[in-house]
C-alpha cells in the first residue's frame, strides 16, 4: 500500500456509513493504484455495495475521506461523475429501448452530440458482439447479452475508474468468461477497476489486490497469493458417512492437525489446515481408522481463497450467504 496519492485511482480513508442504527461501513480504507483491479470480497450484507455507492457518489458517507481519479468525492461529486462508470448489480439498461438506443442515450447523457453518441454506440455494440441485437429491445436479450450491454453503457465515455458491483452474479459460465474478458481488455486499455464479488475464483482471476470485508470493516488485504499464504500450507477436507461421528472426527483432526477444524455439519464435512502435507497423511488416516470412523472422502489440497475467507471470518461463503438470507 505504499503508493503516492497521485498514483491512486481510488483512495478511501476511514469511510463510515450509517443508515439510522445500522452501521453498514465502520471505517474502511481502500487504495486502488491506477491501472489495477481491486477485488472487494465479502459475503452478502458485508457492505460491498454500500462501499461502491459511496465511492461512485451515490451515497454521502457519514464520515471519512474519498478521492476518485484524484478528485474529492464529497466536495466535487459532479466532477467525479465525469470520470467514472458504475455498473450496478441489476442490469440498469432500459428494457424497452433497443441496444443502440440505450447506448446512444447514455452517450448523450454524458454530453455527447447525437451523431457522436450514435457512432460510439455502434462501436461498442460491435466490440461486445451485440451487432445483431442492436435494433432489438433489451427485454428480448439473454442475461449475458443484457450484462454486456450494461457494461457497454458504463464505458460509453471511457471512464478512468470503473465500478462493477457483482458483475457476474446470475450469469451462466460462458457469459461469465465473456465478462472477465471484457474486464481484462478494459484494464489493458488503462482503466482502473474496482469490482465486488462473492465468487472467490473471480477475484482470483481478475484482481491484482484483494480486500476482504465483513460487517463493514476490512478484515484482510493483499494479493491472492499473500492472502493464501496467511492460511498456511495445505488444507485437508474430510467427509464422513454418519452425522453421529462428526464430533469424534473433529476431535481426531484437531489432535493430528494441531489446529482448530471448521465443521460444516450440513455436508458432514470437516476442514482443517494441514501443515505437514502428504507425508503426514497416513498418520491422519490411521488415527481416523483407529477411532472407528467410516470415511466418505478425504482430500488434501493447496489453500484457496475460500479457505482464506473461512480463516478470516470463521464462516464459509455459503454460510455467510445463508445467514444473510435468513
Amino acid at each position: 500500500m505504499e503508493h503516492s496519492r497521485a498514483e491512486l485511482a481510488v483512495r478511501a480513508r476511514g469511510v463510515e456509513m450509517a443508515f439510522g442504527e445500522t452501521r453498514a461501513l465502520r471505517g474502511i480504507d481502500l487504495d486502488v493504484p491506477t491501472g489495477t483491479v481491486l477485488g472487494l470480497l465479502g459475503p452478502n450484507g458485508a457492505g460491498k455495495t454500500t462501499a461502491v455507492r459511496v465511492l461512485s457518489t451515490l451515497l454521502r458517507p457519514t464520515a471519512g475521506e474519498v478521492e476518485v481519479a484524484g478528485i474529492d468525492v464529497l466536495r466535487e461529486p459532479a466532477k467525479v461523475r465525469e470520470r467514472i462508470g458504475l455498473i450496478g448489480q441489476a442490469a440498469a439498461v432500459d428494457e424497452m429501448l433497443t441496444g443502440l438506443e440505450n447506448l446512444t442515450m447514455f452517450g448523450r447523457l454524458h454530453g455527447m452530440r447525437k451523431a457522436a453518441a450514435k457512432g460510439r454506440a455502434r462501436e461498442l455494440l460491435t466490440r461486445f458482439d451485440l451487432d445483431d441485437a442492436a435494433d432489438r429491445i433489451a427485454k428480448e436479450y439473454s442475461g449475458g447479452m443484457r450484462r454486456r450491454l450494461d457494461i457497454a453503457a458504463g464505458i460509453v465515455v471511457r471512464p478512468s475508474v470503473l465500478f462493477l458491483d457483482e458483475p457476474t452474479t446470475g450469469l451462466d459460465p460462458s457469459s461469465r468468461l465473456a465478462v472477465w474478458e471484457i474486464v481484462r481488455e478494459l484494464v489493458a486499455d488503462g482503466t482502473t477497476v474496482l469490482l465486488t464479488t462473492q465468487y472467490l475464483d473471480e477475484a482470483d482471476q481478475l484482481a491484482n489486490d484483494i480486500v476482504v470485508i465483513d460487517h463493514g470493516t476490512v478484515i484482510a488485504h493483499g494479493t491472492s497469493d499473500e492472502l493464501k499464504g496467511q492460511v498456511g500450507g495445505g488444507r485437508v477436507t474430510i467427509t464422513v458417512e454418519h452425522a453421529a461421528q462428526l464430533d469424534l472426527l473433529t476431535g481426531v483432526v484437531r489432535a493430528v492437525a494441531g489446529a482448530e477444524p471448521v465443521v460444516t455439519a450440513g455436508e458432514l464435512r470437516v476442514t482443517a489446515p494441514f501443515e505437514g502435507g502428504a507425508r503426514h497423511l497416513p498418520e491422519l488416516v490411521r488415527a481416523i481408522d483407529d477411532a472407528g470412523i467410516t470415511l466418505a472422502g478425504l482430500e488434501l489440497r493447496p489453500p484457496t481463497l475460500d479457505d482464506v475467507f473461512v480463516h478470516l471470518t470463521g464462516r464459509s461463503t455459503e454460510d455467510a450467504d445463508q445467514e444473510q438470507g435468513a
Binding site: 461512485s56 451515497l59 432500459d94 424497452m96 429501448l97 447523457l109 454530453g111 458504463g154
Partner: protein, 255 residues
C-alpha cells in the same frame, strides 16, 4: 442551463419511446375516463340536478381535470419502476442534470394526458357535450389542464420516489385522489352536499380547477376560478418540486 434542456429532451425522448412501445398503457389511461363519462352521463346523470346546465356539459370539465390528476399516477409508477430496476442509480452516477430524469418523465405523462383529453372531448361530443366557450376560452381551458397535469405530476413524482416499490405505489399511490376528485364540484354541484362537507369541497384546489375549466368551456365568468387555479398549481409545484428532488437525491439511501 443548456445541459439541463439537453438532458431533459433526452429523458423525454426516452420515456415517450417507451410509451410508444407500450401503447396499452395509453389505452388503459384513456378507457377509464371514457367509462366514467358513460357511467356518469347515463347512470348517475339523471339523478343529479345541475340547474339550467345540461349534466353532460357540467360533467365534462370534471372528467378532464380528473383524467389529468389520475395521470400523475403514471409519473409515480414510472419513477418507482426506474428506481427499483437500478436505472435511477445509474442516472445518478452520470454527469447529467438529475432534475431532467423527473422532468423527462413528466413531459411524457403530460403528452399522454393530452391524448386522453382529445379522446375525452370526442367521446363527450358524441354523448352530447356542447362547449359554448370562445376558441380563446377553450384554448385557455386547455392550458389550465396542461398546468394542472404538470403540477399534479410533481405530487406523483414525490409519491413514487418516496414509496420506493412498485407494489406500494400500486396499492396506495392513488388513494389521495379519491377524496380530492369526488368531494369536489367535478361530478355534482357542491351545494347538494351536506354543510360540513361543503366547506372542504368548496375551497379545495380540485374544485377551483374544475370550475375554471367548466366556466371556460361554457362561456361563464371564469376569471376568479382561473386565477385561483393558477395560484393553486403554482403552490403545488412550489411544495412538491423541491420535495420530489430531495427524495430523488435520497433515493439510494434506504435501498
Amino acid at each position: 442551463m443548456n445541459r439541463f434542456f439537453a438532458d431533459t429532451s433526452v429523458m423525454a425522448w426516452r420515456n415517450l419511446r417507451r410509451t410508444l412501445r407500450l401503447p396499452e398503457m395509453v389505452v388503459f389511461a384513456t378507457i377509464q375516463p371514457v367509462m366514467f363519462v358513460v357511467l356518469f352521463r347515463y347512470v348517475f346523470g339523471g339523478a343529479i340536478d345541475t340547474g339550467s346546465t345540461s349534466y353532460v356539459n357540467f360533467l365534462m370539465a370534471g372528467i378532464f381535470v380528473q383524467t389529468v390528476a389520475f395521470g400523475s399516477f403514471g409519473t409515480a409508477l414510472g419513477l418507482v419502476d426506474d428506481l427499483q430496476r437500478g436505472v435511477v442509480d445509474r442516472f445518478r452516477s452520470l454527469p447529467m442534470n438529475h432534475g431532467a430524469v423527473v422532468l423527462g418523465r413528466i413531459i411524457n405523462d403530460i403528452s399522454i394526458n393530452l391524448i386522453s383529453i382529445i379522446v375525452m372531448v370526442i367521446v363527450g361530443v358524441i354523448v352530447g357535450f356542447r362547449p359554448t366557450g370562445s376558441p380563446l376560452e377553450l384554448l385557455l381551458g386547455f392550458g389550465i389542464l396542461v398546468l394542472v397535469s404538470f403540477s399534479f405530476s410533481w405530487i406523483g413524482a414525490t409519491i413514487g420516489l418516496s414509496l420506493r416499490t412498485v407494489e406500494a405505489v400500486n396499492s396506495g399511490g392513488f388513494l389521495w385522489m379519491f377524496p380530492l376528485t369526488f368531494v369536489s364540484s367535478a361530478f355534482v354541484p357542491v351545494d347538494s352536499m351536506p354543510g360540513w362537507l361543503q366547506g372542504f369541497a368548496e375551497y379545495q384546489p380540485f374544485t377551483r380547477m374544475v370550475d375554471a375549466v367548466r366556466a371556460l368551456s361554457l362561456n361563464q365568468p371564469a376569471a376568479d376560478h382561473v386565477i385561483a387555479s393558477v395560484l393553486w398549481c403554482l403552490a403545488i409545484i412550489a411544495v412538491f418540486l423541491p420535495i420530489s428532488m430531495r427524495q430523488f437525491r435520497r433515493a439510494a439511501l434506504r435501498a
